[in-house]
């Protein structure tokens, strides 16, 4: 009789440990995925000065845009900003970069410039990687949220004080894909 009780106890312990570790694993992969977004954002910050340098000599009338994006980048790389601030800053950067890319349209010489073309490819690549990192983050968060809300892991999550996390939403303006045809026309 006692052995049966011990057996049941062991099984319960294993299940509890499993849930506990599983939840921690899921929380860590969410954090890990967020860190990856950060890495790619840094890559983008590194490209901004290059972009500004490449287009500066051509763009006389858009100085404002260039100064704006430089300032935003400086703020974003200054450190000690919260993740929420980072996201807002990046949405701003997205908008300004979009503006620059539209302005490029009126400078055929610039568009034909090989350096600029390379840069544009790098920017495209970073954007695509960023989108991949966001999707990975969202997948990790969904996994985590499922564990937090579904039975029986929700009981464990409640005790560990784990709460649902927010998905990385992309603001409406951003969701317009860059029109490659006009960029390379």
């Amino acid at each position: 009789m006692i052995w049966i009780l011990v057996g049941i106890g062991v099984v319960i312990l294993v299940v509890v440990f499993g849930m506990y570790n599983g939840l921690i694993g899921k929380k860590n992969s969410v954090e890990n995925a967020f860190a990856s977004i950060d890495t790619i954002l840094k890559k983008r910050y590194d490209l901004i000065p290059n972009l500004v340098a490449a287009v500066k000599q051509y763009m006389e009338h858009e100085r404002g845009l260039l100064e704006n994006v430089t300032a935003l980048r400086a703020k974003a790389t200054s450190g000690n900003i919260s993740s929420d601030e980072a996201i807002t800053l990046n949405n701003e950067i997205n908008k300004t970069m979009g503006g620059i890319m539209v302005a490029v349209e009126s400078y055929p010489e610039l568009k034909a410039n090989e350096n600029f073309k390379d840069l544009q490819r790098s920017l495209n690549e970073v954007e695509e990687q960023l989108s991949a990192a966001r999707r990975s983050f969202n997948a990790a968060v969904t996994d985590f949220n499922n564990a937090v809300e579904m039975f029986p892991t929700n009981i464990m999550a409640g005790m560990m004080n784990y709460k649902r996390r927010k998905l990385f939403e992309i603001p409406e303006v951003e969701r317009v894909n860059p029109d490659v045809k006009t960029l390379f026309a």
């Binding site: 390379d118 490819r121 695509e128 991949a132 999707r135």
Partner: protein, 323 residues
């Protein structure tokens, strides 16, 4: 863009003369094979007759009949071999040249075994590896290669009497396609037909997570795609970088159009695609005339199917750092 009318003209002006010569060859090789067959039949009948009079057991006659059948088949293969290879070297070569001058064709060539294995699409041990009809070249900016392949493994069992039986099992048979992918990547991502999730739902997904022979499971957000395929990769972000939402849609549509299982791998800077196509592609027919536009058109369609993957997967869009 070439139309079917263009191809009809090409057929009339460029292919038809070669086809006429080849059809003559086909007839004469068929005649020779027929003669050899008749000869073999008479010989076997003679042998069987002699066996009957000399009172040998009936099993011997069975052996003689089977031997005759094998001989006749061998004669058929032997007499039609030259015709087949001539046909491939002229007609198939011309059809491929019609599709693009940048493509070369090797009737007996194939995607190498090591390359097939490096795709990691199929993990079984390979004991027999065959292939033919290798096409190699460039479509736009994308380098491509494809061939028919048949990879098998064998199992040997020994029955109670000590007889050994070898059974061959197909790992993959169909069209194997390789293209230079348009984005840079380092790791490995594979997209496999999803059987577990289709039948078992969430439980199936759980089981896929524990698949030790594969890399980490990558759960995609496209629900329809997830139902048809399962993705494993060495890097979660890289897998999503490669499989953008647009590419997932393209793969899904391609799969639905093909109606056969499709395995896709992204390894060593390449896209590998294995399609379980049942028919033997680019083969001439022997028993009926080859002076038939629809027959040649089928060859064209088969080439276009493979070459069209570049377009279907959008591989000529080179807007990332990879040229």
């Amino acid at each position: 863009m070439k139309t079917i009318e263009d191809f009809q003209n090409y057929y009339e002006n460029d292919l038809r003369p070669s086809l006429e010569i080849l059809d003559g060859e086909r007839k004469s090789s068929l005649r020779n094979a027929g003669l050899a067959g008749t000869l073999i039949t008479f010989v076997i009948l003679g042998v069987v007759g002699w066996m009957l009079t000399s009172g040998l057991p009936p099993t011997y006659m069975l052996f003689a009949a089977v031997g005759g059948g094998v001989l006749a088949f061998g004669a058929f293969v032997l007499f039609t071999k030259d015709f087949k290879s001539n046909f491939k070297n002229t007609i198939i070569r011309q059809v491929i040249a019609y599709v693009s001058e940048d493509l070369s064709y090797a009737p007996t060539g194939m995607i190498s075994r090591s390359e097939f294995q490096s795709s990691t699409l199929f993990k079984n041990r390979i004991d027999r590896y065959k292939g033919e009809d290798l096409v190699d070249g460039k479509v736009g900016k994308t380098k491509i290669r494809f061939s028919e392949l048949h990879a098998e493994y064998k199992t040997t069992t020994t029955d109670s009497k000590g007889h050994r039986h070898t059974t061959w099992h197909t790992i993959f048979k169909g069209l194997f396609f390789v293209a230079d992918f348009n984005k840079h990547f380092q790791g490995r991502t594979v997209v496999l037909p999803d059987s577990a999730e289709k039948f078992l739902g969430r439980l199936g997904k759980k089981l896929q997570e524990w698949n030790v022979s594969r890399d980490d499971l990558v759960k995609m957000e496209d629900v329809e795609f997830e139902k048809e395929f399962v993705v494993y990769g060495t890097d979660q972000i890289e897998a999503r970088y490669i499989l953008s939402p647009a590419l997932m849609r393209r793969i899904l549509e391609f799969k639905r159009k093909m109606k056969v299982p499709v395995h896709i791998g992204f390894v060593n800077a390449n896209l590998y695609m294995a399609m379980n196509i049942k028919k033997n592609m680019f083969e001439p027919r022997i028993l009926r005339t080859i002076l038939d536009f629809d027959l040649v058109r089928e060859y064209l369609e088969d080439v276009m199917l493979a070459v069209g993957i570049v377009e279907e997967m959008n591989l000529n869009t080179r807007i990332w750092t990879k040229e």
